[in-house]
């Protein structure tokens, strides 16, 4: 994991442009991130990508932390910080000015139309993320079962996701996955 400045520049440009596409949040963007870092750049395998995503879920903080880990995987500590700044900087600036502009938006109706139009797109993207990750992670019937149980736990109960992940890790050690 040596960090040449060319690699760091490539990380900065890739993650900055990805984050400006992240309508619906980082989770909605996972298939696209996967496509870029695995298929286009060849920085890691699909399984390594799924592992890093799981590690990011086990740590505290926003889901966007997976970006820091992807940067770390490619170019160490410097890669992690470059990826994090690239993923959060430009979109934060855009957000700052967009919200200032939104206060002057013409009509309430236009705002409502925009929110109702974007919600299904965001939800469809989040399903696509779960599907992409499941395809990368589930190589056995046991793993598939853990995915289904994890989905059910979040969809139908109020259990803290950390316990779901911890239980799944224990099941993995026991040989289920």
């Amino acid at each position: 994991m040596s960090a040449s400045s060319e690699v760091l520049l490539e990380i900065a440009w890739r993650f900055a442009s990805l984050s400006l596409l992240a309508v619906g949040g980082i989770n909605a963007l996972l298939p696209e991130i996967h496509r870029v870092v695995v298929d286009v750049e060849g920085w890691m395998t699909s399984a390594e990508f799924a592992d890093l995503f799981a590690l990011a879920q086990l740590a505290p903080g926003p889901n966007a932390m997976v970006i820091s880990l992807l940067g770390w995987k490619v170019a160490g500590i410097a890669g992690a910080f470059v990826a994090t700044l690239a993923a959060c900087g430009p979109s934060s600036l855009l957000c700052y000015y967009a919200v200032r502009g939104m206060a002057r938006m013409p009509s309430e109706r236009m705002k409502a139309v925009l929110q109702r139009a974007l919600a299904p797109v965001a939800i469809g993207l989040i399903f696509a993320s779960g599907y992409t990750l499941a395809r990368a992670a589930d190589h056995s019937a046991g793993a598939l079962l853990l995915t289904v149980l994890g989905a059910a736990a979040v969809a139908f109960t109020r259990v803290n996701p950390v316990w779901v992940l911890a239980a799944a890790a224990a099941a993995g050690i026991a040989g289920v996955a």
Binding site: L29, V121, P161
Partner: protein, 182 residues
């Protein structure tokens, strides 16, 4: 834009609040953001929080990062936005790197590999479960469901580049909702 919070939000309390949110947010930050901002600090009502989330979803970038920028800017201007952003990112970046370094040192052990295989299978499930919850909460009309399914198939199954999918789906969604709203 809703009015000012009940208690004045200082720069220090702003930073501390978002530091807490970042520190506690295991398995997703949003529930913790609501708890700290609405229940504990009472800086926002539930309704204001939900409306802000909608805006954060519409804008590109990580949702909770956008939330910190919007609220920091609202209460303490550009410096506030920077303080809230730093607060929510700083500890998590350090924590996740420590965890990754630790994982790299034990990754050769079969137990570690098996544990992470189990956790990553369940993590995929957490995302799918969140999407199911959103569908049940938002109750989109048939036209919204159809659009959502089309986006899922294009991006998830066919692996189409996101930019092209958005370039088609977003104008289509706006046109459908605009017609329905008339």
């Amino acid at each position: 834009m809703p009015g000012p919070p009940a208690a004045p939000v200082t720069q220090a309390s702003l930073f501390r609040a978002f530091l807490t949110i970042g520190l506690l947010g295991f398995g997703g930050v949003m529930p913790w953001a609501r708890r700290v901002l609405v229940d504990e600090r009472q800086w926002l009502t539930d309704r204001e929080f939900a409306e802000l989330l909608g805006i954060c979803q519409v804008l590109p970038g990580p949702n909770v990062v956008n939330l910190s920028v919007i609220l920091g800017a609202r209460w303490q201007g550009p410096l506030g936005a920077l303080l809230a952003l730093t607060g929510i990112l700083f500890v998590p970046v350090i924590a996740v790197l420590l965890l990754a370094t630790f994982y790299a040192s034990v990754a050769h052990a079969p137990q570690a590999r098996n544990a992470i295989a189990g956790a990553s299978a369940a993590a995929a499930g957490l995302i799918l479960g969140t999407a199911i919850r959103l569908v049940r909460g938002a109750r989109p009309p048939p036209r919204g469901l159809a659009l959502g399914v089309a986006v899922f198939v294009a991006v998830g199954v066919l692996q189409a580049p996101l930019l092209w999918v958005l370039a088609v789906a977003v104008p289509l969604g706006i046109a459908l909702e605009w017609r329905a709203a008339r």
